[in-house]
Subunit: 225 residues, 2 copies
DNA sequence: GAATATCATATTGCATGCAATATAAATAGC
DNA sequence: GCTATTTATATTGCATGCAATATGATATTC
């Protein structure tokens, strides 16, 4: 295994929760498993810190980042900011390649049978969101999104494959695509932000229903002060 | 010098452009200068990569990140997204400590004599922006802002101390503070975003006036495609 | 003289031994 | 029996030698 392959393998193991969140990543164990020495392993671990999914504590070592349910809000609020701006910027793009790709995805989403939305939807969704980030032509936004998307996977592995949530998402994706094709920057951003807020809310409702004790205050009353 | 002191020292040297952007950071030279060995120096360099101001290229080493003028747009667009969301979230905060600090800053800004705006303004500005990020109570947003603020310093060291730009910024800061005190989330976000767009534009106009050749297209016509 | 190939040097990549520190387990004191 | 202290172990932190690679200079060919 090359160093990059080890990096990808370890990242995948963390994202698929083969390692439990909060687990200590012991250098010697990783050395023995991957049959390389501590120095390159440490470099790999620093790269995963850069990805946001591992953290390093001085004199303690490296740990798989632990994200509580309340961090779901943090991730979605950040996505709302980042992806809202990205899709706004993407509206300026008129390259035929980008527009063509967008229309292809539009048709695929439109013609997706209801019973396949839960299975195929998430993949299309990831592609679409990444396309907007690319189209923003903002390297810093892209750099940040990389990290945020890893954390999104880490917070909501479980949320995938819920057919009702994916159905709503597909409708948002179609509306957003149309807004971008129409070069309506305000509308595209507004839709993307609403998409993030609603998806966040749906995930909480579905997987952490106890969070909204009464429905009085919504998020404010939920424990995130 | 402890390792943390070396980290701070090196970061400061990079941010103050004692190292030229794009420069190679040679491990052995740093070792001799700081009188420690390569292993801890490499750890320090990885932390600076995490700060966004250093980049690592395999088999080539570490380099001071090089940001062209066109990256100023990237940084301000990202700040617009991040800080717009942060100030929106900050509007929810009603802790007396936060509100008091805000009012103290408000009075300081109001009573700041015109001829001291260029000198004192930037410092108050940094404090205020950091306060909003803190008040957002979003750890991910804060984490990202850390990096973005370093890059902001790296792109626009020169922009500080321009009294006309700082005068405009002060006025925005006062308006934003009032919006937050009034808990007007929409207005606070809208003002923060406008603040970022205008500051970006002013910096380009002042320090890179050749960018807007004709004033036909604005940013779109400027070279950032 | 220009382009290419070869070689010398500088720099990073890797492995590993020892030191310092944190964790836990066992023991002593109350 | 519980707490505090000591001791033992496990793990990271640091330094350094050697290997692999990239860079730059020199020489060689056309």
């Amino acid at each position: 295994m090359t160093k990059n392959e080890i990096l990808d393998d370890l990242r995948e193991k963390i994202l698929s929760e083969e390692y439990t969140q909060g687990d200590s990543l012991i250098e010697r164990e990783l050395c023995e498993y991957y049959e390389i020495s501590r120095t390159p392993i440490r470099e790999i671990l620093w790269r995963l810190v850069l990805d946001g999914i591992v953290e390093q504590r001085p004199a303690r070592g490296f740990f798989v980042r632990k994200l509580g349910w309340e961090q779901i809000f943090d991730v979605f609020q950040t996505r709302e900011a980042i992806e809202g701006m990205a899709v706004r910027l993407a509206c300026q793009r008129r390259e035929t390649g980008f527009l063509r790709d967008l229309e292809i995805l539009q048709h695929k989403l439109e013609s997706l049978p209801e019973d396949q939305v839960a299975e195929e939807g998430p993949r299309y969704g990831r592609t679409l969101h990444a396309m907007f980030i690319d189209a923003s032509a903002n390297t810093l936004l892209k750099e940040i999104y990389q990290k945020v998307s890893f954390l999104a996977r880490l917070t909501s592995n479980i949320a995938r494959h819920s057919s009702s949530i994916e159905g709503v998402s597909r409708n948002f994706h179609l509306l957003i695509i149309q807004a971008v094709l129409d070069q309506d920057a305000d509308k595209s951003e507004q839709l993307m932000r609403e998409h993030m807020r609603i998806t966040c809310r749906d995930i909480i409702d579905t997987f952490y229903p106890q969070v909204f004790l009464g429905k009085a205050g919504g998020i404010e009353a939920s424990g995130k002060q």
